[in-house]
């Protein structure tokens, strides 16, 4: 499973990279979304998969999966949610103010004379 996950994560990173390199702002933000999915899955995979029951003591299982990566991912998910929300609103405002979502037109070169 871990090997499969490694490939899935690779695919997620690949797609994310591709999207982040494209011109339109929306696609870039979607790319960051995929990127964080990949990162979270990776963190989970790195803790080892399916090594026991869900980390709830009520399960009375002989072994539990590693709860620590899960806690870390939870934190990371929340943070990336905040960032994504911010980024989206930023994209919206950028379009409102500058009238484009094409990164090529968002170059700008102040002070480059």
């Amino acid at each position: 499973m871990e090997i499969l996950m490694a490939f899935i994560i690779g695919i997620l990173f690949m797609s994310a990279t591709y999207l982040m390199l494209s011109k339109s702002l929306l696609r870039i933000i979607i790319g960051t979304g995929l990127l964080s999915h990949g990162a979270h899955l990776l963190l989970l995979t790195m803790g080892g998969l399916k090594r026991g029951a869900a980390p709830l003591l009520g399960e009375h299982a002989p072994s539990y999966t590693d709860p620590l990566p899960q806690a870390l991912i939870l934190t990371a998910i929340v943070i990336s949610f905040g960032v994504t929300a911010f980024f989206l609103v930023l994209a919206y405002r950028t379009y409102q103010e500058l009238g484009t979502d094409n990164m090529d037109r968002l170059r700008g070169n102040e002070g480059n004379d």
Partner: protein, 94 residues
């Protein structure tokens, strides 16, 4: 026995979801997509329930209700967006 049935059921519902995804992508109108999405949400509930049985754990039962709630709110929001163009009205015109 039970496990086999559960796995078969998961398979069935997976196929159903796949079909619904086809509808989501195909369209042709936005309401079609919403219908399909709503159905996907509901089917996910079923999948979670089946997975809980398969894993013999009640850890995921919260997820069931949560999914139901989300699917409902999502559908309401979508349909409202379609109907009125806005999702949240500042002041409802009477």
């Amino acid at each position: 026995m039970l496990m086999t049935i559960v796995l078969i059921a998961i398979l069935c519902i997976s196929v159903a979801i796949a079909g619904l995804i086809y509808r989501v992508i195909k369209g042709p109108t936005t309401p079609d997509r919403i219908v399909a999405l709503d159905a996907i949400g509901i089917n996910l509930v079923a999948i979670i329930a089946l997975v809980s049985i398969a894993l013999d754990t009640n850890a995921y039962l919260e997820v069931i209700l949560l999914l139901g709630i989300l699917a409902f709110i999502g559908t309401v929001a979508f349909s409202k967006y379609l109907e009125k163009g806005v999702i949240i009205e500042n002041e409802r015109d009477r």
